[in-house]
């Protein structure tokens, strides 16, 4: 009996050790699913780790939730794509600095036979209006993410109030939304990175791209030392600076899927 | 229950505690199941509690042992302390462990030092012919062996009073013989025996005195010679004559 107890205790102790044996120098980064799912982090983080010895632990969630995590002081750093929201975050004192890091773009995906004929549109507003006109099924993230916010801006831009049977708010991440769109042959707006890396396209095809308004800017934020003194501000600053440095920008440019560059560095 | 003492024969020399039922009644809802009845059990017995099914024999035993609390009246023991007691049930309740572990558990519960438990358990198993079964799970023993194990468990506790509730009702003749032999051994050790049975022959073989119940009422309490030869109550007369008594 005593022996068993000792074994159990030893087991617990070893598990506890395993949990705490992770690297000392690490920061938690709240970021978006698009950067994680596309494989960008898997490509650039080892380079950062090699040069600084700092491990970056990515919690990939929607932009809205990422802001919330940072607001509560549960992440050391923030990398998202909602420029307006980011600026508000700085104004409200939760972050001290915001910088452009890179951009990619949104693309419009839809069933290969393109019933709304958005392939013929000359700009994004036309494409969105065509979908609404045809009342073709459209799958929206509906989760207050950066992509969702951008999509709503684009409907407004097209002068359409998206409403009705054809407009489906899913309340899901980008990947699940693409899965659903594939299953119901719907149009969907995705960031290019997630789309290129997406493996379950079925009948879906990229139908419209290239308009400037589809531009998707990513920004890195330095969080407020005042609000959250316990955070690893020093390490987070190293990460922020590295992203903006030549090395970091080059690493972003070097990330390719199927020979295609997905993120374009644009730090000033 | 008082602290444990190693069994010793000396207890037979001391006068055994007397059990006193004073106007005891037990009812459930509005239905009176037993009593009111008053009697005193002195000496070593064995006292056999007899009567037809549903007469209240088991109830009386459980009230005496303290498993049930009387609705009215009092159950008391002579002497300063409640005597050490044990009970053997018709269907022995054995733990899902080995025969030995069943005994050591009972000893542990009664604060017997760990070192003594195994020795006491093995002695008891030997006394009741269960040595070969000491490592056998109690639940896979035969009915007779299970009842002997229950008796052995009572034995290791060296009770001053032992209650047995129809201990042989479900057993074959050989097993009945073993149980009766065990009861005599308890008696010889000076343990006061109170036992229910509906087997007249068994009662003749074992009883010193008889409590006879029918319909929840104590009909008579007489020495066994009186009870079997010229019972006082009409109900007992009918019972011994083999008539159907309610």
């Amino acid at each position: 009996m005593k022996k068993t107890l000792n074994l159990v205790l030893a087991g617990i102790a070893s598990i506890g050790l395993a949990f705490s044996a992770c690297a000392e120098d690490h920061i938690t980064l709240a970021s978006t699913t698009s950067t994680e799912n596309s494989g960008l982090f898997a490509s650039i983080l080892p380079k950062f780790e090699d040069s600084t010895g700092i491990e970056v632990r990515v919690v990939a969630v929607g932009t809205g939730q990422a802001f919330e995590i940072a607001r509560r002081g549960d992440a050391d750093s923030l990398l998202v794509h909602d420029t307006a929201g980011e600026k508000r975050f700085v104004e409200n004192g939760f972050a001290t600095e915001r910088a452009n890091v890179m951009y990619n773009d949104f693309v419009l995906i839809g069933p290969a036979d393109d019933p709304a004929n958005i392939g013929a549109a000359t700009n994004a507003a036309e494409a969105f209006a065509a979908i609404a006109e045809a009342e073709a099924p459209f799958a929206s993230r509906g989760d207050d993410s950066g992509t969702n916010r951008a999509e709503l801006r684009l409907w407004k831009n097209a002068g359409v109030e998206p409403d009705g049977e054809w407009y489906r708010e899913l309340g899901s991440g980008m990947g699940p939304t693409l899965n659903t769109a594939a299953a119901m042959d719907a149009y969907v707006m995705s960031d290019r990175a997630t789309w290129v890396a997406f493996g379950n396209r079925q009948n879906l095809k990229l139908l419209f791209e290239g308009d400037k308004v589809l531009f998707n800017q990513y920004g890195s934020l330095l969080l407020s030392q005042e609000k959250h003194p316990h955070l690893k501000h020093e390490l987070a600053k190293k990460w922020h600076d590295w992203l903006l440095s030549d090395d970091g920008q080059q690493a972003i440019a070097d990330f390719k899927v199927d020979g295609q560059q997905l993120f374009f560095p644009n730090a000033q | 229950m008082t602290s444990f003492q190693v069994p010793r024969l000396a207890s037979s020399i001391l006068s055994p505690p007397a059990l006193c039922f004073d106007d005891v009644m037990f009812s459930k809802g509005n239905e009176v199941l037993l009593g009111p009845c008053s009697f005193t059990l002195e000496g070593l017995g064995p006292t056999l509690v007899m009567g037809p099914n549903g007469a209240g024999k088991s109830l009386l035993l459980r009230l005496a042992h303290g498993l049930l609390v009387p609705t009215r009246g009092q159950v008391t023991w002579s002497g300063e302390h409640c005597p050490r007691q044990a009970m053997v049930f018709q269907h022995p309740v054995l733990l899902r462990r080995s025969a030995t572990a069943n005994l050591t558990h009972a000893l542990a519960v009664n604060n017997v030092p760990r070192k003594m438990r195994t020795k006491l358990a093995h002695d008891a198993l030997e006394r009741f012919g269960l040595t070969a079964r000491s490592n056998t799970p109690a639940r896979v023993l035969s009915g007779g062996e299970q009842q002997r194990l229950a008796l052995a468990r009572a034995w290791v506790l060296s009770p001053q009073v032992l209650f047995l509730d129809e201990p042989t009702a479900a057993l074959d003749p050989a097993a009945i013989k073993a149980v009766e032999a065990a009861v005599r051994e308890f008696h010889q050790r000076g343990t006061r025996i109170v036992m229910t049975t509906h087997d007249l022959h068994q009662a003749r073989r074992l009883a010193a005195d008889v409590l006879f119940l029918s319909g929840g009422i104590l009909r008579e309490h007489t020495p066994s010679e009186t009870f079997f030869d010229k019972p006082v109550s009409r109900e007992a007369q009918a019972y011994i004559a083999g008539e159907l008594v309610e």
Partner: protein
Amino acid sequence: MENNAFYVALSLLVNFDASLFGIVALSLQVSLLAVLIAAVLGFPLGAAVALWRFPGRGGMIVVLNALMGLPPVVAGLMVYLLLSRAGPLGEWGLLFTPGAMVIAQVVLVLPILAALSRQKVEDLLGEYREQFVSLGMSRSRMMPTLLWDARFALLTVLLAGFGRASAEVGAVMMVGGNIEGVTRVMTTSIVLETGKGNLPLALGLGIVLLGLVMLINAGAYLVGELTRRRVG
């Protein structure tokens, strides 16, 4: 061929993928530790509710039974708010660590172990009660005896708890953050791969998880049967 989930599952195992191994090991550690902690707390709690009569006991049983159906996301959210820096236990710095995942799973599993063990112990107590009183046992002395004698039933209860812990994703996703190499477990990997549209890989991981859970259940069943045969 590589679109077949079984093929993917098999090649994951055959190639002994290092990151998969880490994920499996973490899944097991988190869930087993959670079940162990929940058992240490839940079994005595269940037995106590079975043994003692106290005001509010009925309500407590209803609450325990109802909490067996606590949605994992709700448990995750509660633990998240508790462990968040802005929360009461923020000082511990446990959010987005395996420790947080263990806590969330304990919250999920504890009601199952307590409610089911209460039922099992109460059934056994019905059988043993008179003998226990006859032996002069106090309620607190009855507890370990009942828990030990109910061990085979409790083993099944333990497996039910482990099943819940290893299968849930909502709570660990929320408090663990699905961080690669740190808090990524089987279920969150499956969600991630599904999100990427890697359905065969997601299903392959699901098959590996299922196989693992079956292996553990088979082991527990075997141990249970062997001892049951020995002890009766």
